[in-house]
């Protein structure tokens, strides 16, 4: 029972981070119809920025997270505006290949400048924690979970309530109509991608404080983003958080009760099953189903 409670708590806290990793991926997929294979690389890049700032200037990782988010917003904006926007109407393998090429460049750029060693960002509170009964809750992971929730709420509020957010949603629903209403579509796509990159970078910075990372982790983050986005429904930000928590808890239980890495097989089985049976996500409404592709 204690093991069950402990693994559930651990899974919940880890799941919040998965949600933060996947939320931007889901937004980009939902709005621009780009499956960004470089998303995990952006997460790792954010972790490295925060690590570098901490190691060189002693900057607190929470401030490092803000800087990582800002830097990656700029990079994401530029990449979408300068590259991905050029192939938005090409067949989907082209956009997949493009983002895969970007992933190669980012990951191997990190490997060759900073080596492939495992690192983590030291914090004063990461190893401390408190206990509820027999269940231990580390402060570092609790802070990470809290940040994940806050950032997801902030993103949902931005997309749901601001003028730019409305432009993002309109472009996601019908690009042609949005353009006719005066929405600068190329700019909106770039802002969307920039936001996703910023959140990926922030997630990377948080992950860097609670666990080790290396450039090789990029692929794993991208795959988890798939699961999170599909479980939550494309473009559904609350869904991404819920999907992340679900994935985290299932992984933690699997790690506790199943042999080896069989839990990963289950995660992918769930992914395929959800895609086939309910492509709008477990709790998603079919928001982008009626998307109009022309224009």
């Amino acid at each position: 029972m204690e093991r069950f409670a402990q693994s559930t708590v651990y899974g919940l806290l880890q799941g919040g981070l998965y949600g933060l990793v996947g939320v931007g991926f889901s937004l980009v997929w939902g709005v621009t119809n780009i499956v960004n294979l470089a998303h995990g690389a952006l997460v790792v890049a954010g972790a490295y920025i925060a690590w570098e700032l901490n190691a060189t200037f002693g900057l607190d990782p929470l401030l490092g997270m803000v800087v990582a988010g800002l830097v990656l917003f700029g990079m994401g904006y530029a990449v979408q505006r300068g590259l991905i926007n050029l192939v938005m109407n090409a067949p989907i393998f082209m956009t997949l290949l493009l983002t895969f090429g970007l992933e190669l460049v980012v990951v191997n750029g990190l490997v060759s400048t900073l080596t492939g060693d495992y690192r983590s960002i030291p914090t004063g509170y990461a190893s401390r924690g408190f206990a509820i009964g027999e269940v231990r809750v580390p402060y570092g992971r609790l802070v990470g979970f809290g940040l994940a929730v806050v950032l997801t709420v902030a993103l949902a509020a931005f997309v749901g309530r601001t003028r730019t957010g409305r432009a993002i949603r309109a472009t996601g629903m019908d690009r042609g109509a949005a353009r006719l209403m005066g929405v600068p579509v190329a700019h909106v796509y770039a802002v969307t991608f920039g936001l996703a990159a910023a959140l990926a970078g922030a997630a990377g910075a948080v992950i860097g404080t609670v666990t080790t990372f290396s450039p090789a982790a990029a692929g794993g983050f991208t795959l988890r983003s798939f699961v999170v986005a599909v479980l939550g429904g494309l473009g559904n930000m609350w869904g991404a958080l819920a999907g992340g928590v679900l994935l985290g808890v299932v992984e933690a239980w699997g790690g506790q009760y199943l042999s080896g890495t069989l839990v990963n097989a289950i995660a992918f089985a769930v992914l395929v099953a959800v895609l086939v049976v309910r492509p709008s996500g477990l709790l998603g409404r079919p928001f982008y189903e009626a998307r109009v592709e022309a224009g």
Binding site: V87, M88, I92, M94, L97, V105, L271, L275, V276
Partner: protein, 329 residues
């Protein structure tokens, strides 16, 4: 859409290249033969992917699963059942086709990115299952086929033999793609690519046609996977189910020209030789250069090199920016 339909140069050129390829082991050294065998292998894989991804337009991002299934079928039969390689090979091909049909039944109902992600999920999930069935597959420690000594079921055939085996696989894959391209089946696939509902309305049994294409693609991929496993002797799930192999198949087919017969072969030859050159020239940076080149080609020639070149030849001008104008937002 065979490349240069009106020009008899293509069959003659193909014959010449094939004759050169057959004669190459007489003059080339071992390293060159290994490189060429790698080119043939990826060209065969890209051609196999092209049947489902190029002709039917279903972007499978998990085709490596059939590569792995083929390789592991051969390995398990040789290790646990004491089979020789040759009888195990057709079983591996059948296993690839059967697995494609099994997976395709639910997954081929999806389209676009959903199909891509679902196939990726199938490949990753299958790898995890293979990894965890360690009593059968050896798990992460790998499985070694009996090819040496007295317990060998088939002795290791050597470098030149593998060169010819991969060449044979490539010829088979191209012949299959060429036959598909000209057949009623191939026109059915293209119709599905252009407009699936329209294809169904004209009487094409889209489910059956798509399943057949996926199974054919799976069978050819499994054949290549079985040869690769035999060549490696010891195989690991990480290698045989690596996402990168899928991405390379897709990149080669798409950069060469998806939906054409020779495009994937040209793309595979170009990318594989380029990758090999970069690996030797820029030991540390080759993947960065490779990634940048992929990005550049995608942005500048989103319809593939072959289609770009034929277009440029037809119109007698190099319009790099024309295609960019066509596909940007």
């Amino acid at each position: 859409m065979i490349l240069g339909r009106k020009v008899p140069v293509v069959p003659a050129g193909t014959g010449l290249v094939l004759a050169l390829a057959l004669a190459a082991p007489a003059v080339a050294d071992d390293a060159a033969l290994r490189t060429l065998a790698g080119v043939f292998m990826f060209a065969a894989l890209a051609s196999a992917w092209n049947i489902i991804g190029g002709f039917a337009g279903y972007a499978s991002f998990g085709n490596v699963v059939f590569f792995g299934v083929g390789g592991y079928t051969v390995a398990v039969l040789m290790v646990h059942a004491g089979w020789a390689f040759w009888p195990a090979l057709p079983v591996a091909v059948a296993a690839g086709a059967a697995y494609a049909a099994l997976v395709g039944l639910p997954v081929l109902r999806l389209r676009g990115h959903y199909f891509a992600v679902a196939t990726l999920g199938v490949a990753e999930g299958t790898r995890e299952v293979v990894l965890n069935l360690s009593h059968l597959t050896g798990g992460g420690a790998g499985i070694t086929m009996p090819v040496l000594g007295s317990r060998a079921t088939t002795s290791y055939p050597g470098n030149t033999a593998f060169y010819y085996l991969f060449l044979a696989a490539l010829v088979l894959a191209v012949a299959a793609a060429s036959a598909v391209s000209r057949s009623r089946f191939g026109y059915g696939l293209r119709a599905i690519h252009d407009d699936e509902q329209g294809a169904a309305a004209t009487g094409i049994d889209t489910t059956r046609v798509k399943l057949a294409a996926f199974a054919l693609s799976g069978a050819l991929t499994a054949l290549v996977g079985a040869l690769f496993a035999f060549q490696q002797v010891t195989i690991y799930p990480e290698r045989l189910f690596s996402v990168e192999i899928t991405v390379l198949m897709v990149a080669m087919a798409v950069i060469g020209g998806a939906g054409t017969v020779l495009g994937p072969v040209i793309g595979a030859a170009g990318l594989q030789l380029l990758a090999e050159y970069l690996r030797q020239r820029y030991l540390n940076l080759h993947l960065i250069v490779f990634g940048s080149l992929v990005v550049a080609v995608v942005v500048l020639m989103p319809e593939g090199v072959v289609s770009f070149a034929t277009g440029a030849w037809r119109e007698r001008r190099l319009g790099l920016l024309d295609t960019v104008r066509r596909y940007r937002v």
